[in-house]
């Protein structure tokens, strides 16, 4: 009995705390993905690479002397601007087409490859470390957690809450929800829907950039970091429900726990497979995901 308790306390609990932090960061990437899908019906395959770009931009800005905190503020803005370029030049002209789901998938896939190659040309294929802004360990319920990881959790949670608040408690959010449900009717009340699309796309990309800065000091930055994360974020969005805000957060936290705990007992590669198994199961049992698309009744 004593053994079991100390096993839970010393092995399982720390793993769960770690998974909670990964889950919160994953939720940031998944939130952007699901917002963009919910509003524009666009599956943004470049989303992971915008996360990667966030990591590299932080690396460079810190190298230039902006400091971690400077990077934390600037990077989401920079990545949002890149997202704006992608939306304005690439996606917007394709939106009126009836086959927009397919052509925007191809477009964002191309953008993804370009961004990854761009990163390799500029920063090389090596992994770059980012120094955390502070060190130290904090004990929570007698589990020792690096202070920076706790900060990441808090910052991600704050960004998630801000997003929820924006969408469900503000006037802008009302316009977003209405646009997700019925863009033609929204336009018929004098609101330029393309601006709504553009700003939501930018916001989602900014969240990916933020995740890149936050996780940079934990996982370091490398050209394919976005790819690995995106696949996981897709599993999250599918389980939570394509276009669901609450679903993205819940599924991110849940899948991170499943992966984290499973890797205690099975090889980590198989833990990832388990996550995709859950995704597959959800697709079979409840193809629309666990939660409703935002804006829909």
């Amino acid at each position: 009995m004593q053994d079991l308790l100390s096993y839970l306390h010393l092995v399982v609990l720390p793993q769960m705390v770690d998974a909670l932090i990964v889950g919160a960061a994953l939720a940031l990437v998944a939130l952007g993905l699901t917002m963009i899908f919910g509003l524009l019906d666009v599956i943004n395959l470049a989303h992971g690479d915008l996360y990667m770009l966030g990591g590299y931009a932080a690396f460079t800005l810190i190298g230039w002397g902006a400091g971690y905190w400077g990077a934390l503020v600037l990077v989401p803005v920079l990545v949002a601007i890149v997202g704006w370029g992608l939306e304005e030049l690439g996606i917007r002209p394709l939106l009126p087409r009836s086959d927009r789901a397919v052509v925007t998938l191809l477009l964002t896939f191309g953008a993804s490859l370009m961004l990854r190659d761009f990163a390799q040309v500029v920063w090389g294929t090596d992994t770059h470390a980012i120094q955390a802004p502070f060190s130290g360990v904090i004990s929570v319920a007698q589990v020792f957690v690096p202070a920076y990881r706790l900060f990441v959790f808090g910052a991600a949670l704050a960004a998630i809450f801000l997003t929820w608040w924006l969408i469900y408690r503000t006037r802008i959010g009302a316009v977003l929800r209405a646009t997700a449900a019925d863009p033609v009717m929204v336009a018929s009340f004098g609101i330029p829907v393309r601006w709504v699309y553009g700003s939501a796309f930018m916001y989602g990309c900014g969240l990916a950039g933020l995740a890149g800065v936050l996780l940079g000091p934990i996982y370091a930055v490398f050209p394919t970091m976005g790819h690995d994360f995106l696949v996981m974020a897709f599993a999250v969005v599918i389980v939570g429900g394509m276009g669901s805000i609450v679903g993205a957060v819940v599924a991110a936290l849940a899948l991170a726990q499943i992966q984290g705990l499973a890797s205690l007992w099975i090889p980590p590669v198989w833990a990832e497979t388990l996550v995709y198994g859950v995704m597959l199961l959800v697709l079979i049992v409840r193809p629309a995901g666990l939660f409703r698309r935002f804006g829909e009744a």
């Binding site: 209405a178 019925d182 033609v184 009717m185 336009a187 018929s188 609101i191 330029p192």
Partner: protein, 236 residues
């Protein structure tokens, strides 16, 4: 000069013509009825005016400006609001949020917003009671009131109304028509598509009868309904 002039409008869905040589006018502060059977082209006419459908040829002139090829958001900002047949209430927005959406393009102050909301709530007191409720929880009649309120709150100069009485109980229909008359008294022009020809002709100054995408008759409600053939067509 008329507020709205539709001149020789032609429109088609894919290759099937749905509007052929449709012309009519709506003057400031008058209610004009658009009658006809299902599929006659009434809804399509409203959609074309609101910019939901690009006309194949012809002109739509509003307050002196050609709006035929403009987008819906621009058309709204010129002063035209549309209440579609299925009402299209935003289901996951509250009653208040639905109404405020109709004001978003106006960028008015908080005080002005309150004043405008209050005006709608006085027109439909039931909406005030339901202010914080989600759109999807409203009854059909309340949804129609909200649809009218949402279009009215931005003070349009012309309101396009598609089948406002459809599927509603007679008591509610009376309430809706009272509101329509009140709008006209406030100087708003209305283009009213309605199956309930008897009710509508009581409030219209002039009306047009459509069939197979064309206008086949025009006049005051009295003149139009005096025609036995037309009465038969409209099953009045």
């Amino acid at each position: 000069m008329a507020l709205l002039e539709v001149e020789a409008l032609h429109a088609r869905y894919d290759y099937a013509p749905v509007l052929q040589d449709v012309s009519f006018t709506v003057d400031v502060g008058e209610i004009v009825g658009l009658f006809g059977r299902n599929g006659a082209g009434k809804t399509t006419t409203l959609r074309a005016i609101m910019g939901w459908l690009r006309p194949a040829s012809g002109r739509i002139v509003f307050a002196g400006a050609d709006i035929s090829l403009e987008a819906p958001d621009r058309i709204f900002r010129r002063g035209i609001a549309f209440i579609p047949e299925d009402r299209r209430i935003f289901a996951t927005l509250t009653v208040e949020e639905n109404l405020l959406l109709g004001l978003t393009a106006h960028r008015c102050t908080r005080l002005e917003e309150e004043r405008r909301l209050d005006r709608i709530f006085r027109l439909f007191p039931r909406l005030r009671e339901r202010r914080r409720q989600m759109g999807r929880t409203l009854s059909g009649g309340e949804q129609q009131m909200l649809a009218i309120g949402r279009a009215l709150v931005g003070s349009p100069r012309l309101l396009l109304v598609d089948e406002p009485s459809e599927g509603l109980a007679p008591v509610v229909v009376t309430e809706i028509f009272d509101a329509i008359v009140r709008m006209r008294e406030e100087g708003i022009a209305l283009l009213l598509v309605e199956q309930n020809v008897r009710r509508a002709s009581a409030v219209c100054k002039s009306c047009y009868v459509m069939e197979k995408g064309r206008i086949i008759k025009h006049g005051t409600p009295g003149e139009v309904l005096a025609d036995e053939a037309i009465r038969q067509r409209l099953s009045v």
